[in-house]
């Protein structure tokens, strides 16, 4: 769980870097170059399957573990637990499910088009991800939904990063504080970074 989650977290950083290239005011040259590199390089193509595997395993294990955990308390309490806890940890299953919905939407808009499962939007070319992205982000409703999803991803990650370290037993009294801080900064960076793109297209494009 922790391994796969942290692996996905590394991937998000790469994805974020490429997305932020959308913000370069160069008519999409850099972004197109980067996405076609990602689309054609053989190593990346193999990695794509590793990544899908990562998502698949993370989700399957997450769901199985959550169901098992629920089964560990067949009779619940009348008064819900009031203990002081890591807040978002209680909602990992739900924030995860929200991310999953977004993932499907996201695949419909990009990856499924690439592999030909979904029709290319009218007037666009199959590999022109730059135009597709612009078409999506200039739609205000889509942009707002996109930002909302990333806020939930931020919630998921805020607990997830430090939790992954704890699960792997990577814990040290010199670095614990740093890990918690990195967890917070990382989640803000991802939620904020990804949101910059729709904000840019909504207001400045």
């Amino acid at each position: 769980m922790g391994l796969f989650g942290l692996f996905l977290a590394m991937f998000l950083l790469v994805h974020l870097t490429i997305n932020l290239l959308l913000l370069c005011n160069d008519g999409g040259e850099l972004f197109t170059a980067a996405s076609s590199f990602m689309g054609t390089n053989i190593a990346i193509k193999i990695f794509e399957y590793v990544l899908f595997g990562g998502f698949f395993i993370h989700i399957i294990i997450g769901v199985i573990i959550t169901l098992k955990n629920w089964a560990s308390r067949p009779v619940g309490y009348l008064v819900a637990n009031k203990s002081h806890t890591s807040f978002f940890s209680k909602y990992m299953f739900y924030t995860g499910a929200i991310i999953f919905i977004f993932l499907i939407l996201h695949f419909m808009h990009f990856f499924f088009i690439k592999i030909g499962w979904v029709q290319v939007p009218a007037g666009l070319e199959k590999h022109d991800f730059y135009k597709m992205a612009i078409a999506l982000f200039t739609n205000k409703l889509y942009s707002l939904v996109y930002i909302a999803f990333f806020i939930f991803l931020g919630f998921h990650l805020n607990h997830a990063i430090q939790s992954g370290f704890q699960t792997l037993g990577l814990n040290h009294n010199k670095y614990n504080c740093t890990i918690k801080r990195v967890s917070l900064i990382y989640s803000l960076l991802v939620a904020g970074g990804f949101s910059l793109v729709p904000i840019y297209f909504m207001f400045f494009f």
Partner: protein
Amino acid sequence: MDLTLKIWRQKNSSSKGKFETYKVNDVSPDSSFFEMLDTLNQQIIEKGNDPVAFDHDCREGICGTCSLYINGRPHGPKRGITTCQLHMRSFKNGDTIVVEPWRAKPFPLVKDLIVDRSALDLIIQAGGYVSVNTGGIPDANAIPIPKMNADLAMDAASCIGCGACVASCANASAMLFVGAKVSQLALLPQGKIEAANRVQKMVAEMDRLGFGNCSNTYACEAECPKEIKVTNIARMNRQFMKAKVCAEKHEAASFGG
């Protein structure tokens, strides 16, 4: 103080339970929670009814027998104490106090507020010990132990096995208890010898008994009367992974004989 109590009543493991409401009046704020329950039971007995059954023994926070999930928190509203150390001054006049047994699949209910926590003993039996051969006692100074390890082991060893960590955990996970019991031995040279085998056996037993999996919510640390740290869970995870990857397979993986 005048209080309203809502208490879970259940005759035995197979019968259906329900909440009963009781009133207790003139409770001294200086009395303990259990003295208050004793007063209530006296009232119930005088009416010829069955008193509320609850677990307790030492009544001074050292044995780990008492339990009770009070107003949404194991061992009540105060940090770092057991139910038997809880006093009525922690409540206000006119309060309604909801008292529930600890809920977890591996803790079957025995009667009213008493649950069977032998599952924790079974985890200890699976490996939470050091095999000692009889013979002369070695000189204490013959085995050097860093002060910090001695302190950490002592902190872990202060776990009284009450099960509040399980009761508070959203997943009914026993990882804090097992983490403490693994750590108290693994930190010391005498315990290191069987460490790899121990952690695997105790974790396997914990899973077999149906405890949930830790999702690092840390409610356990907040509720543990002995303030056991979740770093013990990380230590157990680390050792478990190391043992799974590095430890050699034992044909007869039994030890301690």
